[in-house]
């Protein structure tokens, strides 16, 4: 039984990030795309926390920097969700759709 180390966290984080990116690229439903975006942000959070936890003692920079960054990311993500869902609801009221394929009123 091996200990869980930095690499394990990073592999999970990279997998989450790729899944999120894949979701944004492949899925056509706005809400699912938005969930995928949150997944990408949380992948970054996981990476930051695990780097911060496993950081070797260094002459400069507090080891807590990364964890402080995570709080900012969580706060900003909450604001982003509030604005994003409001926009998606406004679109649904207007067009009765949450599918990106219907967002085509502007073309080249």
């Amino acid at each position: 039984m091996t200990d869980v180390g930095l690499e394990h966290y990073l592999v999970v984080s990279a997998a989450l990030f790729c899944l999120g990116l894949l979701g944004v690229v492949i899925r056509r439903n706005l809400i699912v795309m938005y969930m995928s975006l949150e997944l990408m942000l949380n992948a970054a959070n996981l990476a930051l926390v695990s780097f911060s936890h496993h950081q070797p003692p260094s002459p400069h920079g507090s080891p807590l920097d990364g964890q402080i960054m995570v709080f900012f990311i969580i706060t900003v993500a909450a604001a982003e969700v509030a604005v994003g869902l409001a926009l998606i609801v406004a679109l649904y009221r207007k067009r009765q759709t949450t599918d990106v394929a219907d967002l085509t009123s502007m073309k080249l």
Partner: protein, 492 residues
């Protein structure tokens, strides 16, 4: 934490909150007074900044995440000026937004606050929060005309692509943190210089992801797909603010990250091959923007593609990787501010409610409003780079930065010159419509001839923009000195 260091940002944020509160008690017919008060408040703040900024010294807060040097002061003044002009321009447009009336001014202030923080960012925490404050505010501003499907659609496209770009950027920051063990620009530079960066591959991957996020902000190829749709769909004053404010914020952050944090130098340690990367990006951006603008008939979309092309020119200053290039970026953006705001002011006045901004709305403009015709002509001539206007000076300095002391990239210069030729074609298409346009020739509808009456605030914006374009172009000495002094602190 020294609060007096961020007094300007606090002032702008407070102004936004005050306007929002005052909007609750202001009767609808007095709403334009709110815009006037916002513009007045911002002017006072700009005056204070200029008074303080005369004696520029580098000040850093105790945690090192916020810096106030020449570069920061230059961009803060640029953003405040843009904020004032956009607020005045919004006053004439507010009745078309169909919102409460105070929100648009407050949101402008909040976006401006984010830009001011971006100008001073010295750590990745500050960079991220500033960028998000700008971007999230612009999601709302873009879709403010929610009764128009285009505005809403532009907002949602911006939202999804913008959120994806910031997620990529945050992951890049995490990887940089993993290899550098710090988020502060100075300390990262120290770590790179001392050579105890163990996981170089991790650092490079992180830097690439971060730069991708910043390239999205400045709408450089291949991260430009959002720009035309958002420029077209957003209300005209918002497009103006997006074109200058959001883009300039992207460039100041790019300068800081590249020079202060990564210490990128032409003959320095090869971390990223920055010259090759940015020269390809600049060339692709110029070509894409110019080609797409050629056949465009929607004015806002045309200026959207043109702004992509101009981001390519600004990247030339970054390809050069020297002080001259950085100073050229500053001069170009200062000239760009007046030209872009002038153009979008005219568009916002001319566009009929709920109609497209087709080129045909410009017909007979020289008879309907000589001031607007003059301003738009000067603005597009400045954007195209005709001497003696401000745009010529900027483009000239940017090109010179790549050519001197040695023309490292002859093909890049050739692409830029071809782009200039193409831009003459599409910009002069606009001028032709103003003076010789025949309106909607496909409907046999005679073009409008009624004179247009301008509001005072709109006249002020137009006159300031014309004077600004002429002043920067004819008396370049002051702006050149300021720009050269401002880039000293970058560590080049």
């Amino acid at each position: 934490m020294n609060l007096s260091l961020i007094s300007l940002e606090i002032g702008v944020a407070l102004l936004g909150v005050l306007v929002l509160l005052a909007g609750l008690w202001t009767p609808p017919h007095r709403r334009s007074a709110l815009g006037f008060c916002t513009a007045l408040g911002l002017t006072v703040l700009l005056a204070l900044l200029v008074k303080q900024g005369m004696a520029i010294e580098t000040l850093t807060d105790s945690s090192g995440g916020f810096v106030r040097d020449g570069l920061a002061v230059f961009f803060k003044a640029l953003f405040l000026l843009a904020g004032i002009l956009v607020t005045l321009l919004t006053m004439g447009f507010a009745n078309r937004l169909r919102t409460g009336g105070a929100e648009v001014y407050a949101l402008n202030c909040f976006a401006l606050c984010g830009m001011l923080f971006a100008a001073s960012a010295n750590s990745f925490v500050m960079l991220f929060v500033a960028i998000e404050l700008i971007t999230i505010t612009f999601y709302v501003l873009t879709s403010l005309q929610s009764h128009r499907l285009r505005s809403l659609e532009a907002g949602i496209k911006y939202l999804i692509l913008g959120a994806a770009a910031s997620a990529v950027m945050v992951f890049g920051i995490a990887l940089i943190y993993g290899s550098a063990h710090t988020l502060q620009f100075n300390l990262i530079a120290d770590g790179l210089a001392a050579g105890h960066m163990k996981q170089l591959l991790l650092f490079q991957l992180g830097a690439l992801l971060l730069l991708a996020g910043l390239a999205f902000k400045i709408a450089a190829v291949p991260f430009q797909i959002w720009a035309p749709d958002v420029y077209q769909g957003a209300p005209a004053p918002v497009t103006a603010f997006l074109a200058i404010g959001s883009k300039a914020a992207g460039f100041v952050l790019l300068l800081r990250v590249l020079y202060t944090a990564f210490q990128v130098q032409p003959d320095g340690p090869r971390l990223l091959e920055p010259t090759a990367m940015f020269s390809v990006m600049a060339a692709a951006t110029i070509i894409f923007g110019s080609l797409c603008a050629l056949r465009q008939r929607n004015l806002k979309r045309l200026l959207g593609y043109a702004s992509i092309a101009s981001a390519g020119y600004v990247l030339l200053g970054i390809v050069a990787l020297n002080e001259r290039g950085a100073a050229a970026v500053l001069v170009y953006l200062a000239g760009y501010l007046f030209a872009v705001i002038a153009a979008f002011t005219v568009i916002s006045i001319l566009t009929p409610e709920d109609e497209d901004e087709d080129l045909s709305i410009l017909a007979n403009l020289h008879k309907r409003s000589p001031l607007m015709a003059l301003t738009l002509t000067l603005a597009v001539a400045s954007l195209a780079g005709i001497p003696p206007l401000a745009g010529f000076l900027g483009k000239f300095l940017l090109l010179r930065a790549v050519i001197e002391p040695a023309a490292t990239f002859p093909w890049l210069v050739a692409v830029a010159l071809l782009g200039v030729v193409a831009s003459l074609y599409y910009y002069f298409g606009i001028i032709r419509e103003i003076f010789w346009g025949t309106g909607q020739w496909w409907t046999e509808k005679a073009p409008e001839t009624a004179a247009i009456k301008l509001a005072d605030s709109q006249v002020v914006v137009l006159v300031v923009c014309v004077l600004g374009m002429l002043a920067v172009g004819l008396y370049p000495q002051p702006i050149l000195e300021i720009a050269n002094a401002a880039v000293q602190g970058l560590g080049l």
